[in-house]
């Protein structure tokens, strides 16, 4: 047991949310390197571009985090995002359905498809295989869903406004202020709850997080409203993260989610509905995939057979893992989706800005991914050496 104490300390710190710190350090290093090569890298305009570029990856990665947390994997959600975008675009542009209805229909379609996948997985087929097959089937399905010319153009439609809308600076600051106040109020409420039962607590548990949140929110709004106002996709990501944070950290659902990923049998014995938790995770992934697909289509001003293809799937999984969510289940947080997407997006953005060749981008992204998984293995097993425990 004494052999295990040192790694155990590391795991303890990592599991308490300090796992975001290495990612933040990596992010600062990446930014410093690119900024030293080109001062345009950290200009307000480029940072705004970066947030728009990573929005799709971040939203999809958020769904992937939920699936990774219960110890499963998904390979089909990127193509699914293309299918859902095709459904929404077809209904809204070609079918003339009001945009909100088309959006709801696309989200419902995404959840229905991941629900079917989750049912097969619940029967015991490995998720790797189910979603690999699902990916191929969905590549066929997108051909069915798209009209005969295999593209839907979204230029000038209401659909295009999802990504192009900018929230005016005034309203953005107001939103940041409201969010900060609600958060601080919630922490204060918890502080008083704890004090009512005589649990050790201090005002610092309210003030420190509140100040951090205020700095992040107001700093973000300040940076991102320099151009035209806060880009709508950024707001969408922020709202999704907020909801995900609440449910994963403050509710019974969150505890069960982590329990299933930590030790499935122990969770089952304690009465946690394991299969239902796995299905929930895939439903969330389906909704995230649909939203990611629509945001992406709106930004690209079109849907085609290549929607959701390319590096999106690997980027989303890489983002979740680089951000600190374990491939082995039960460890990580929803913040890894945004942090990992930032790391991967920052690399490709910088490479493009400096006019470096594409292979540099692939090398750097791949290396970061492998290092991140190595860190994950060390934290899970306590050592990188084979055969030790």
């Amino acid at each position: 047991m004494s052999v295990a104490t040192r790694p155990a300390r590391v795991i303890e710190l990592a599991a308490r949310g300090h796992r975001s710190i290495p990612v933040l350090v990596v992010l600062v290093i990446i930014w410093t390197v690119f900024y030293s090569r080109s001062s345009a890298y950290l200009s307000f305009q480029n940072i705004t571009n970066l947030t728009l570029q990573i929005a799709t990856t971040a939203i999809l990665a958020l769904g992937v985090v939920f699936v990774l947390l219960v110890g499963e994997i998904d390979l089909s959600s990127a193509v699914l995002s293309g299918v859902c975008a095709a459904v929404a675009a077809g209904l809204a542009v070609n079918g003339g359905l009001p945009l909100p209805l088309a959006i709801m229909a696309a989200i419902a379609a995404g959840m229905a498809i991941t629900f079917v996948e989750a049912l097969v997985i619940a029967f015991g087929v490995p998720s790797l295989i189910v979603t690999l097959g699902g990916m191929v089937i969905l590549q066929g399905l997108i051909l069915v869903v798209l009209p005969p010319e295999f593209t839907v153009s979204l230029g000038g439609t209401s659909f295009a406004r999802i990504a192009s809308t900018a929230v005016p600076a005034g309203i953005s600051y107001l939103l940041a202020a409201v969010a900060t106040l609600v958060f601080a109020g919630y922490r204060l409420f918890q502080h008083r709850e704890r004090r009512s039962t005589g649990t050790r607590t201090s005002v610092a548990t309210v003030l420190v997080p509140a100040v951090v949140v205020a700095v992040v929110l107001f700093g973000g709004v300040f940076t991102l409203t320099r151009q035209r106002g806060l880009p709508m996709p950024v707001l969408i990501v922020a709202v999704m993260l907020l909801i995900a944070w609440y449910f994963t950290t403050q509710t019974r659902y969150g505890i069960h989610l982590y329990a299933v990923g930590g030790d499935r049998e122990a969770a089952q014995r304690a009465g946690v509905p394991v299969r239902r938790m796995v299905i929930y995770s895939f439903l969330i992934l389906g909704a995230c995939a649909a939203i990611a697909g629509m945001v992406d289509a709106s930004r690209q001003l079109g849907v085609s057979v290549t929607s959701g293809a390319g590096p999106l799937m690997l980027n989303a999984i890489a983002a979740a893992v680089v951000g600190g969510t374990s491939l082995f289940g039960g460890r990580g947080s929803i913040w890894s989706a945004i942090l990992g997407a930032l790391v991967i997006g920052s690399i490709s953005n910088g490479v493009q800005l400096l006019g470096l060749t594409t292979e540099v981008q692939y090398f750097a992204t791949g290396a970061v991914l492998i290092i991140a998984v190595a860190v994950d293995v060390v934290l899970t097993r306590g050592s990188l050496l084979p055969g030790r425990r």
Binding site: M1, R16, R252, Y258, A266, G330
Partner: protein, 260 residues
């Protein structure tokens, strides 16, 4: 002293294999009963019957004097029997409070998304761990970082959340170092002081000697001997378990089992 758990003529077959044959077992409040036996003696089967994992073919189970049908672990828990299995069934990535209350969380209504009432759980966790003299640096440390003794404490603490009459411990000291073994034996002592009935399955004679008020020896699915504390020497246990010396076994039966 009241009788908390009473098994009468419990038999269980798996196919043609006789796992248990007309086993009687009685546990009183504030009493620690050790269940020992060689591999395949029927200890695990008996634990499974008591914890609701397996149903006996024939026989009667009474908890606090009432007939109980332990058809599932949940039914056993509701009847007042909690079992701590050898692997402890803890989620390594969760902290002490989350593990203690896993599956029995205190939470709000559907309207706030079943928000966890963490402060209530922490307060109860504190009380339960104190009652077992388990000391943790922090309640929010993932249990993977805790010692074997502390983990055992949390697993037993979890069993106490629903205030059971009988706690069954399956090999609680196996795979533990000397000092942690001492901790676990102290935990068992605490359970006895709380006037619960405790069943300890063990193969460690020294532990049994130290902690058990009564020792029940199983061999080939049948109860072959029963000793009260200080009525036996270690060789008596060994010969009863192995059946090496029939004379000793019979003596044990007369000494400990005659009144039942």
């Amino acid at each position: 002293m009241t009788t908390l758990l009473e098994l009468t003529k419990i038999s269980k077959h798996f196919g043609g294999v006789r796992a248990l044959h007309e086993v009687d077992l009685q546990v009183d409040s504030g009493e620690v009963v050790a269940l020992i036996g060689d591999n395949g003696a029927g200890k695990s089967t008996l634990v499974k019957v008591v914890s609701g994992v397996e149903s006996p073919d024939t026989g009667e189970i009474r908890v606090r004097g009432r007939n109980a049908r332990l058809v599932s672990p949940r039914a056993a828990a509701e009847a007042g029997i909690r079992t701590v299995f050898q692997d402890l069934s803890l989620c390594d990535n969760l902290d002490a409070v989350q593990n203690l209350f896993l599956g029995q969380e205190r939470h709000g209504s559907i309207w706030n998304g079943r928000r966890i009432r963490r402060h209530v759980m922490e307060e109860q966790a504190q009380r339960i761990l104190e009652s077992l003299s388990v000391k943790l640096r922090s309640l929010s440390t993932p249990v993977v970082a805790l010692s074997g003794g502390q983990r055992q404490g949390i697993a037993i603490g979890r069993a106490l959340i629903s205030d059971p009459a009988v706690v069954v411990l399956d090999e609680p000291t196996a795979a533990l170092g000397v000092s942690q073994r001492g901790e676990v034996l102290d935990l068992i002592q605490r359970l006895r002081e709380q006037d619960r009935g405790v069943v300890v399955v063990s193969h460690d004679m020294k532990d049994v000697r130290q902690v058990a008020d009564r020792v029940v020896v199983l061999r080939l699915g049948a109860k072959v001997a029963e000793f009260r504390r200080d009525e036996y020497r270690l060789p008596d246990l060994v010969s009863a378990m192995t059946g090496a010396d029939e004379g000793n076994v019979d003596e044990g039966n007369v000494d400990g089992g005659a009144d039942r």
